[in-house]
Symmetry: C2
Subunit: 137 residues, 2 copies
């Protein structure tokens, strides 16, 4: 279970990305990826030894839109790369985790899943596999 990124919800991934690049001297790593399942556009900024994922909702009624309306832009989840996603989901479920999104293909052709853990001070964890070889998104 390796920490990979902080997921940050913003209004506009291009504009907010430019500001973060300027302030933190981060580097863009990908063109915006449109995740049609999650209904978001995402991009990743390389901050040296971790990534900041910027997330912008593409529709008016999504969990991310609700987050933005309630909290404004801010940290949404912590993302961890795992070797065996099903096994990690099972482990977190036994510790009280609620699977809010079962594994689906997402960024970089990875299987991604979101787990809500009410016991944690940061409640939303994203787990994702290494990039899959046999399918493309």
């Amino acid at each position: 279970m390796k920490f990979h990124h902080i997921g940050v919800v913003v209004n506009n991934i291009v504009n907010d990305g430019k500001i973060i690049e300027n302030v933190l001297r981060s580097r863009k790593t990908s063109i915006p990826f449109h995740d049609k399942i999650q209904k978001v556009k995402v991009t990743f900024l390389d901050v040296g030894n971790f990534y900041i994922e910027l997330i912008e909702p593409t529709e008016t009624e999504t969990p991310v839109t609700s987050f933005l309306e309630k909290n404004g832009p801010g940290v949404h989840h912590l993302g961890f790369e795992v070797e065996d996603i099903e096994n990690e989901i099972t482990k977190l479920s036994k510790k009280g985790g609620l699977v809010v999104c079962k594994p689906v293909l997402g960024f970089e052709n990875r299987l991604i899943s979101f787990i809500f853990l009410d016991s944690l001070p940061f409640k939303l964890i994203e787990l994702f596999s290494i990039p899959q070889q046999n399918n493309s998104v």
Copy 2:
């Protein structure tokens, strides 16, 4: 400017630390450190390639108490280790950063400073030096 930790405000660093250790399989790295200047107790959890700093206010009227009352437990700041803290503060100030805490000695005998950047989706950045050799806290 090297990412070091996510600062998370909690109600109780011992109890919340145990929960995070259990869920994320992190390791405690220090006994709680009482920062009398910031009026908080902090501890660090090693999550493999970064740290989670847990922060618990020790007095009823502190910025961290206000954060807790307003938001509940959650991500409070991102912490970066820097080689030249004064130089980095100057750079961030030129980019709109507001110094909310000038460098003072903090955890691990480091000079720490907090900068508020309203343009960022995560607004509070902690900068800190490498541990200082000539003073002890």
